[in-house]
């Protein structure tokens, strides 16, 4: 047992800000790193100490293991929190942290090695009676291997990065002719994102739901689960809306899936917060997808329905304490929804957008939480993930959570960069979303066809057009009047100053 006094947070954006909050509440000193592109960023400003780590590209800054370890030693940090993405699931990094005698706020490097390679994880799960999606448990050796395997398990198939996650290095392939090009691109993306080009193949489960289970494990072999999260609303294989609990999961299915999740964690001697992701078909059969050995982006929905602060619990586990809770202490209370606000253009295939945030006004009031990495004047650089903030709403029922979310999003103003906020208005009013029967293809099937000509915009938008026109005219006319006033004013002053004599 070792009390942690200073944590070096090796991440940026909203998750760094979230971890700083936990540090402050626990009386732990927080230190952060920032790249040259992040000089004025919120996370650097909020931490007790902050250090320039390198140039803007992530490989030279947030992914630079040597610089980070040296810094941690220099500033006497007794622990490192990796957040999600970047180095969070990099076994080499965790090993370097362990060897430097610094506490890693996460699992051991051995557990991550087991789960970090998605193929090894599939082998392990199979032998521990956790159901897996049919496919390979080894990487594909070449194009010929890929074609042969695909023919055996049947198209469509999914290519995935062995070292991957977060939708990077992932491609859905419907036919043999698409396979070579798709494999090459998946390998390229994987190499850039994770430093490894290894790709494996799974049978593509049609119209599944993405259901995941949050677990916590300590260094004494105690495990608890904190129920499931429903994360089926996705675009480009990345989640945009998550909720807990899932309306699709009832008591018996919940019992089975949470039990499988704990088995999975136990199989790799896991400690820390972790997430076991499953695909669920329409008959409630579920298959192990992958385990994320870190905090998830969507962790707040679980925090809101259980009252457990997952970041504080991660720190507690890392200090070598037993879990603060037993399974019987964990009760589900109400319903929570999260909307991920991205800098992206929903009308242009969700292409990322960049720029400067000219104005930022947060929603507030009952049941609303915002985890954010941005502020007025923040730059949104091209180098990193375009997640700006997350709006999370809690309600005693799902309906109340949805209505609160709608209100919060109406209040939320981000001026200066294109965001996906309008997408949520469409989702939260959609019949299929309200029924809870949506699957992972919901956005592709229902939303994309409406993008052209802005057909996804609802009646509210139409009603606001006249108001927008009046506002535009008043703004423009105000500008003209000010211009005239300025000219008159300056003229007078210049005469008085004798400039035009």
């Amino acid at each position: 047992m070792q009390k942690i006094k200073k944590i070096l947070i090796v991440n940026r954006g909203e998750i760094a800000v979230r971890i700083i909050a936990a540090c402050k509440e626990l009386g732990i000193r927080s230190a952060t790193i920032y790249s040259e592109a992040d000089k004025t960023s919120l996370h650097a400003r909020l931490s007790d100490e902050t250090y320039l780590i390198g140039p803007a590209p992530a490989v030279e800054s947030y992914l630079n293991i040597e610089k980070i370890i040296n810094l941690a030693k220099k500033i006497n940090a007794d622990a490192i929190h990796p957040g999600y993405g970047f180095l969070s699931e990099n076994a080499e990094f965790i090993k370097a942290v362990e060897e430097a005698g610094i506490i890693f706020i996460g699992p051991s490097s051995q557990s991550v090695e087991l789960m970090g390679s998605k193929t090894a994880a599939r082998r392990l799960m199979e032998s521990n009676n956790v159901p897996i999606v049919p496919g390979t448990t080894e990487k594909l050796s070449d194009v010929e291997d890929a074609i042969a395997t695909a023919k055996k398990i049947g198209f469509p198939v999914m290519l995935k990065a062995s070292a991957g996650g977060g939708g990077k290095g992932m491609r859905l392939v419907y036919s043999e002719s698409e396979l070579p090009e798709a494999l090459e691109r998946a390998q390229n993306e994987s190499l850039k994102a994770f430093g490894s080009p290894d790709i494996y193949m799974e049978k593509f489960i049609e119209n599944p739901k993405h259901i995941e289970v949050q677990i916590l494990g300590d260094k004494f072999g105690n495990y608890i689960h904190l129920f499931e999260r429903e994360c089926s609303i996705q675009r480009r294989h990345q989640k945009v809306v998550e909720e807990a609990p899932s309306v699709f999961v009832d008591g018996e299915v919940r019992r089975k899936i949470t039990e499988a999740a704990i088995n999975a964690a136990r199989a790799c001697n896991y400690y820390n917060a972790g997430t076991i992701e499953f695909l669920m078909d329409k008959d409630h059969n579920f298959y192990f997808l992958e385990m994320n050995t870190r905090l998830q982006v969507e962790h707040p929905v679980t925090e809101l329905i259980t009252g457990v602060d997952l970041v504080k619990e991660q720190i507690n586990i890392a200090e070598g304490n037993e879990l603060s809770f037993r399974q019987r202490d964990i009760k589900m209370h109400g319903h929570a929804i999260e909307c991920r606000v991205y800098a992206e253009d929903i009308e242009n295939n969700f292409a990322p957008s960049t720029g400067k945030i000219k104005f930022h006004e947060l929603p507030a009031g009952p049941g609303v939480r915002v985890d954010r990495g941005i502020d007025s004047e923040s730059e949104v650089p091209i180098y990193y993930d375009p997640l700006l903030s997350k709006v999370i709403a809690w309600g005693s029922t799902r309906t109340e959570a949805i209505e609160r979310m709608k209100r919060a999003l109406e209040e939320y103003i981000i001026v200066g960069v294109t965001t996906n906020i309008e997408l949520f208005d469409w989702i939260l009013n959609h019949k299929v979303f309200l029924e809870g029967t949506f699957d992972n293809n919901f956005l592709d099937k229902e939303f994309l066809p409406l993008v052209k000509d802005g057909k996804y915009k609802n009646g509210k938008y139409e009603k606001l057009k006249e108001l927008a026109a009046i506002a535009t005219a008043l703004i423009e006319s105000g500008k003209q009047n000010k211009l005239i006033a300025d000219v008159k004013h300056n003229g007078q002053n210049n005469w008085l100053l004798g400039k035009y004599e």
Binding site: K168, R185, N188, E189, K192, A193, R236, D345, N348, N349, A351, P352, S353, T354, K358, F359, E361, I382, Y383, Y384, D385, P386, K406, L409, E410, E411, Y412, I413, V415, G416, I421, E422, D425, G454, K457, K460, Y461, L464, K465, E466, L467, A468, A469, I470, A471, T472, A473, L474, I475, E476, S477, G478, Q480
Partner: protein, 166 residues
């Protein structure tokens, strides 16, 4: 007195600011009261409601107006500008070349077509890497590639011309 034509999507709204408290919209008078007017934000009252509206000036004529969780793109022109614009549009429609521009800044990884090749609507023309993702740029047009302006492996700015289709 200022008279404007405001375009939103395909509709046009005529606005005439008659004085400091009256605006006429498509010929109908509405009284207003401006409470605050600063950069990126205007607050005004119409009837019994106060509107706080945020805005972003994209360029001299185009604005994004933020209201009730919606972002509305508006284009404002004086009567004269509106007439000139209509004339220019007519002229534009005469020429057939269409351009494909970079939708975001990034690294142009691959160009999938050569000059002179045929292309269909929806067919990918290039792969642009931005924010760690490889993004396909697809053609909105059918035709023949007239000219390619950017080399593979080069960085492009948002809106930079990649190629022209005839």
């Amino acid at each position: 007195m200022n008279k404007y034509i405001i375009s939103i999507d395909n509709s046009k709204i005529e606005l005439n600011i008659r004085d400091a408290n009256t605006v006429s919209m498509n010929g109908k008078d509405i009284s207003y009261d401006i409470l605050k007017n600063e950069s990126n934000k205007i607050i005004f009252k119409i009837n019994n409601r106060i509107y706080e509206i945020f805005y972003d000036e994209i360029n001299e004529n185009d604005f994004y107006i933020y209201v009730d969780g919606q972002r509305i793109k508006t284009t404002i022109r004086t009567e004269l500008e509106e007439k000139i614009n209509a004339l220019l549009k007519k002229k534009d429609a005469g020429s057939k070349a269409t351009e494909i521009k970079a939708p975001m800044p990034g690294l142009l990884l691959k160009i999938l077509k050569n000059e002179g090749e045929e292309i269909n609507v929806g067919e990918p023309v290039a792969i642009l890497e931005a924010m760690k993702m490889e993004n396909e740029i697809r053609s909105h047009y059918k035709g023949k590639i007239a000219k390619i302006f950017v080399e593979e492996g080069k960085s492009v700015e948002k809106g930079e011309l990649i190629l022209k289709i005839n």
